[in-house]
């Protein structure tokens, strides 16, 4: 620890000495979380849902987004909206179901009713209100901003934020690579959601989602499973993993890994785990990609894995299956994770089943890998209890490297921290 900077900054970077330190207080402090809520979650574009979750007019999903109760709904005219799920009268949530299709929402407290576009429809005993009571002004409040890119809807509580596309910047290319898997460029959220808590600070899941350095130690048993299934997982000389992947800065705090695939992809790279009977089908999926996109682009789509972080808290893992997951802090040491599977709308039953099977081998609370990630994050959180005595985490891996940053370096994780630090500004 001879480079101990002895300051109380959150993030201390020294390019000359090639050191990058994160103050562990940021994982335990309620003050930091309060500041994050204002400086990050109230100002950044936050993922709310996918168009496929509200296919038809009246379809809705109620969910908590950045601490607010939100109704993600397609109204009767077909417009997708994010309404704040709180009665204008006395505040009760007006939608208590997880999902469904409805013409409107009903407040069970005093019986106010709203149309599915949020407009106020009925107020029992309306005559008791004075002339300044204007029903037209009393609809459910919409979030200040709601925009979409390739059917991924994001909201923003800052009315003055830059547009979503500008915000996403170079990350759009990586969303495009996901969407290109579908012949019609239409992906859908597959039914079934995994909702679970991790007793760790939310930022650790950002790090973990793109941290390929941990794979060997944390996911030994998953690698064993791959090997037992006939997949070649031997790393070439000088590498920690079977292929040479990169960690990339996409600007605005967005980042990705970009790795030649070795672990199979439903679209479209066969591995032995899928079984001989799947070989022909996967070849046909690949053929379609080549015809539609050309050899080069098809290879880009089919032969690379990309774990993408859209700052601050959306992860799209386009790996051995596609997962969309976001997570919100509940307290400094607790986050709530929601994970979905994403697939091309055209998939056949067999293709969909293969995709879901591949998903569960690695990902999710019952997978062969995610529970060990959770354990690692919770172990780190336990260690952070000693943040006063051991104040700094080291994220300097790869800084000495002159060439591109590998996925097993920490260059892309530093991208997150720099942006996080910038938005957090001076300590409050």
């Amino acid at each position: 620890m001879n480079y101990q900077p002895g300051t109380k900054e959150f993030v201390v970077e020294n390019r000359e000495n090639q050191t990058f330190l994160v103050n562990r207080e940021v994982f335990v402090s309620p003050d930091v979380l309060r500041q994050e809520n204002r400086a990050i979650f109230d100002r950044c574009w936050i993922y709310v849902g996918h168009a496929s979750e509200v296919k038809n007019p009246g379809d809705f999903r109620s969910r908590s987004v950045a601490g607010r109760p939100i109704i993600f709904v397609r109204d009767r005219e077909g417009a997708v909206r994010a309404l704040i799920n709180s009665c204008r009268h006395r505040g009760a949530v007006v939608c208590r179901e997880r999902e469904g299709n409805t013409r409107g929402f009903y407040c069970m407290y005093h019986g106010w009713t709203y149309n599915n576009d949020g407009t106020l429809r009925g107020v029992p005993g309306e005559e008791a209100y004075g002339p300044s009571f204007d029903k037209k002004q009393m609809g459910l409040v919409e979030v200040p901003r709601l925009e979409q890119y390739q059917d991924f809807y994001f909201l923003n509580f800052d009315a003055n934020a830059v547009g979503l596309e500008q915000y996403l910047g170079k990350a759009k290319e990586y969303i495009d690579l996901v969407v290109d898997q579908s012949p019609s460029r239409k992906m859908e959220i597959i039914s079934g959601v995994q909702e679970y808590e991790i007793k760790a600070n939310w930022k650790m899941l950002v790090e973990n989602s793109v941290d390929d350095y941990h794979l060997i130690a944390t996911h030994t048993t998953w690698l064993n499973y791959m090997r037992n299934s006939g997949v070649d997982i031997r790393p070439p000389k000088g590498l920690l993993l079977p292929t040479k992947g990169l960690g990339k800065d996409l600007g605005n705090g967005h980042l990705t890994t970009d790795n030649p695939n070795y672990r199979g992809r439903p679209v479209a790279r066969w591995i032995s785990v899928y079984g001989e009977e799947a070989k022909e089908d996967i070849a046909a999926i690949r053929q379609e990609l080549v015809q539609r996109l050309g050899e080069e682009r098809a290879a880009r789509v089919a032969d690379t894995n990309r774990n993408l972080v859209i700052f601050p808290n959306l992860v799209i893992n386009d790996g051995s299956s596609v997962t969309v997951r976001n997570f919100f802090p509940v307290s400094p040491d607790l986050m709530r994770v929601t994970a979905w599977a994403l697939g091309p709308v055209e998939e056949t039953e067999a293709q969909r089943a293969r995709r879901l099977h591949a998903f569960l081998t690695f990902y999710g609370p019952g997978g062969f890998a995610t529970p060990d990630d959770v354990t690692a994050l919770e172990a780190a959180q336990q260690g952070y209890a000693a943040w006063r005595e051991v104040p700094w985490s080291d994220l300097s891996r790869g800084m000495a490297r002159k060439e591109e940053q590998l996925d097993t370096d920490e260059g892309h994780i530093r991208v997150f921290w720099r942006r996080w630090n910038e938005l957090m500004g001076a300590r409050a």
Partner: protein, 168 residues
């Protein structure tokens, strides 16, 4: 459970109860290789997502949907000290109640049961998993075998249960 059973139609509810209790004992004592012997060669082990308890794993994202191959790999993983989520192994205790035979078709017996599984780990809060099982048991060589094992959680979300890294 050494009694030789002739065919599915003669299996009593008590036979089934004793079978499930024996399975619970093997799982709670982490005798996973012995547990594997209770399974048919084409077993499936399913934990549907909390909000879609009746779904089909071919179309819906489950928490767990193991075929026989992956379930055996899961046991290999669970026995490995590098299975960090279960090393050291969780202390689990299963309470199995309300056991009923809900149907017999050929050699297949459908069984319903309720469960409470307590999971304890050092430095973690105790976790309680509540729900029901749906089994398909088969008569093979005079003993019951598990052909399908579906564990359905009652909770609206996995939430503070965290992971299902052990056999539920």
């Amino acid at each position: 459970m050494n009694k030789v059973l002739d065919k599915a139609s003669t299996v009593s509810c008590q036979d089934v109860e004793q079978f499930l209790y024996r399975e619970a004992e093997l799982l709670d004592s982490w005798k996973l290789d012995e547990w594997l012997k209770l399974l048919t060669d084409d077993v499936s082990y399913l934990v549907p997502p909390n909000e879609k308890p009746d779904a089909d794993h071919r179309f819906t994202l489950f928490l767990i949907a193991d075929d026989a191959v992956r379930l055996r790999e899961r046991v290999i993983r669970l026995k490995d000290p590098n299975c960090h989520a279960e090393y050291p192994p969780s202390r689990t205790r299963r309470m199995i109640t309300n056991v009923r035979i809900t149907g017999v078709e050929g050699d297949t017996i459908s069984v319903a049961a309720n469960f409470v599984v307590y999971r304890h780990r050092r430095s973690e809060p105790p976790r309680t998993f509540v729900g029901y099982y749906r089994y398909k048991l088969k008569m093979q060589d005079g003993t019951l075998k598990i052909a399908e094992r579906r564990a359905v959680l009652d909770a609206e979300e996995l939430g503070s249960m965290g992971s299902v890294s052990f056999i539920l």
